[in-house]
Assembly symmetry: C2
Homo-oligomer: 462 residues x 2
């Protein structure tokens, strides 16, 4: 769930531009066998005559030994290789220990698993992009795979992280005969209307940013308020372009919102991927990026070096300049840690990315997760989630009306210990500093499920 | 599952013409409140913009007291009043004991719950008639009903018989948070391709007919073979009209098949509804109709009175006449026990009955239950179930391609004790003389399910 937050900021998801190099990943993982299977586009059309599409999947039999289980990764919103490349614990450690056959499936409408080829995202073709169709893809796939491999009696453990973790836990709940167990990592299966507070996500981020640098979130809030206060001052607005080194001119009040989106975007993603070691999952970043990005905000300890460009500008007080500069340095950790980019592109106008589009559609039908905050208890500016506004936006953009009640009605979750009481063989693994933790299962819901809450673990860290 | 067998005989289902008098049933059950709820026609269209149809439901609060559960009947292939009128054990006995609120839902495309009104059965509108859409109707209905009634925390026990019992057990399996338990009566949830022998159904009927009258099934087989042997003898064929008092002329070899279908149809239905007391579920019948219909076949004990009409006919030997007459008397128990009908209508050309049509569609998509026999171990003529022929027929008639693998892949059942191991709170109630028993769950599949096999109990007898 890496792109969902961007509904707020309107900046295109960095995950939507995963700079993944499939050839490079293949070279790193020479054990992968890639193939496709013909899958019905519409499993629920009673006339049984649906067209099919080639659903892509990967198999790694390196550690497999007869008698070992199948580890099945329920692909989520992106190219399947992205997930393969970032799920080492399952692919290597666990697979070796259990002598498992590792299988990854690519989610319909993502990567190369496009039901209608390059017409997949035309409005009339969007109606087959939903959770039930996807889950049935996986059920049908596993049935066929087991049969063809002669592994009919082999247990299947379904893995997944984030939205993939939601799929994994729901697959185990709905199809226990197909999936004998599930490991659902960072899966906010109850982050839906009326089940959790809308500001849960932002409050966890607040905790993450306050943990080692108590002054950090305060200063983030201050700089955001400061920038918004420029809205009627064209000169100040224009100066934001040089301050934040944007590729585009910054001129209007709307552009000011783009700047705050640009900043918050970095902080949100750093919280989600606050891994203790350097990563390149979304962008090249140091270990513990939140701490690194908070350092510039320690204004008393180490006065930020105010660049000559900023100093020349008499529009701002020294304190204001210090804050604005700290924010620029802070988000640099996310956007341009290696210093390779000449400027920050806010347009999102690169090659249109289908993967980002795909998630936005899911978030417009059944996966509409309400997120908002009154800004009182955290570093975010107030922004309430509006069901009306989200609906309007989805209808205008895709011709799709969100089904806010769907997930909890179909899968349960309004009352987890009651609804999930018969659930078994699911491990819910969560990091307590993952913002999505707010909508995850963190307390035992039945005697046959396991909840693991990992201290200081961020999103998707398996 | 009262009309499924008719794919064999091509006689229109008697269940398809339930001579139910809704006004009479309402008068008998003055506690019924009838209402409708707007239900999405397509739950799985991701654009969330499906039209709705008025789904009918009945509520009886006579025995309800605060704190009591909801007893929900998952309507099956017919007018909801039919099931209401024949489920007294649930509606009266159990509801009173548990102070339950009784709710019956009508299955889409049956009774008055027609998604597209009088256009519901046009080919392009058939694609929404399937099990998943129906189950989701019931999930959505129960969610709305509980919410509006302020009964959010009230457990729901789902009941159903036959196909309704299949729905009941599957609803509990897939939506345990919505349905806290299920009572599935006579539910052949595994009567699908490769899971049970095709002749299971016929073999149980054989047992039923042999039980009290060992000679009965032998003579039934003999008379069927005799009639088929007439196929190239036009005079003998023509005489069948008077023998079986058909409204239509019997002239061709095809008409001969109609006659055997007409006869077998009666015997099959009597086996399915071999209740110990007189009933009017399908047609007015005495108690233990199988025994009554077997009496004429006891040719040694009481030589059948051969009517003067038959005697005149020198085409047949006395033994042949005795058999043919016995068959006529035997099926009279089913078709015309009260003697009200002037002749037997084989045309099925009365008012086209939508309910029969509806089941045939279900049997052409996901509920295709393979039934056949080599005729060696039972009283039936050999008739193998042909997947190709069934497919061809469904495609020609409805434009629908059967999905033979669907039910067992989606719900499990190829290996019941493995597939259903996590299932809980389901009572599988079966009669051991119910032909559908052959595809039902009759042995324990998990520690939390109960299997009740009732001696001498027929189909749908709750």
């Amino acid at each position: 769930l890496l792109s969902v937050v961007l509904a707020r900021t309107r900046v295109t998801s960095p995950f939507a531009h995963p700079k993944i190099d499939v050839e490079k990943i293949k070279a790193l993982h020479s054990d992968i066998v890639e193939d496709t299977v013909d899958m019905k586009i519409d499993h629920f059309n009673a006339n049984g005559q649906s067209d099919t599409y080639p659903m892509r999947y990967l198999v790694n039999a390196k550690h497999y030994q007869k008698g070992g289980p199948i580890f099945f990764y329920a692909g989520n919103e992106g190219n399947v290789y992205t997930f393969y490349n970032n799920t080492g614990f399952m692919v290597n450690t666990l697979a070796e220990e259990y002598k498992a056959l590792v299988v990854f499936a690519e989610h319909r409408y993502f990567g190369e698993s496009l039901p209608f080829g390059d017409k997949s995202f035309e409005t009339e073709n969007l109606k087959y992009l939903n959770v039930e169709q996807t889950m049935t893809d996986y059920v049908e796939f596993i049935r066929g795979f087991r049969k063809e491999s002669g592994l009919d009696q082999t247990p299947v453990i379904v893995f997944g992280g984030s939205y993939g973790g939601m799929l994994a836990s729901w697959l185990r709940m709905k199809f226990p005969e197909t999936f004998q167990g599930a490991i659902a990592s960072s899966a906010p299966i109850i982050y839906f209307k009326d089940a959790v507070p809308e500001d849960g996500f932002y409050n966890v981020i607040q905790d993450v940013f306050t943990h080692n640098h108590p002054e950090c979130s305060e200063n983030i809030k201050k700089v955001a308020e400061l920038i918004v206060s420029f809205k009627n001052q064209p000169e100040k607005i224009r100066s934001l372009q040089s301050m934040y080194n944007t590729c585009q001119a910054i001129e209007t009040a709307d552009d000011v919102d783009k700047i705050t989106g640009f900043l918050y975007n970095a902080w949100i993603y750093m919280a989600m991927t606050n891994y203790p070691y350097p990563t390149e999952f979304l962008a090249p970043m140091p270990g513990n990026p939140v701490d690194v990005s908070c350092e510039p905000f320690d204004l008393t300890a180490s006065k930020p070096k105010i660049t000559s460009l900023l100093k020349k500008d008499s529009l701002f007080s020294d304190d204001e300049l210090a804050l604005l500069q700290a924010a620029a340095d802070s988000v640099q950790v996310f956007y341009n840690y290696t210093g390779e980019l000449a400027c920050n592109d806010l347009s999102g106008s690169e090659t249109p990315n289908l993967d980002a589009f795909g998630w936005d559609i899911l978030a417009c039908n059944e996966m509409a997760m309400p997120m908002g905050t009154d800004g009182k208890d955290n570093m975010f500016l107030p922004e309430s989630f509006s069901y009306e506004a989200h609906t309007k936006q989805c209808e205008e953009r895709f011709g799709i009306t969100p089904q806010f009640d769907f997930a909890l009605t179909f899968f349960g979750g309004r009352n987890p210990t009651f609804d999930f009481a018969t659930t078994s063989n699911i491990v819910f693994a969560n990091g307590n500093i993952d913002p999505w933790n707010a909508g995850s299962i963190t307390i035992p819901v039945s005697k046959d499920t396991v909840t693991i809450n990992i201290e200081n673990s961020a999103h998707h860290l398996e």
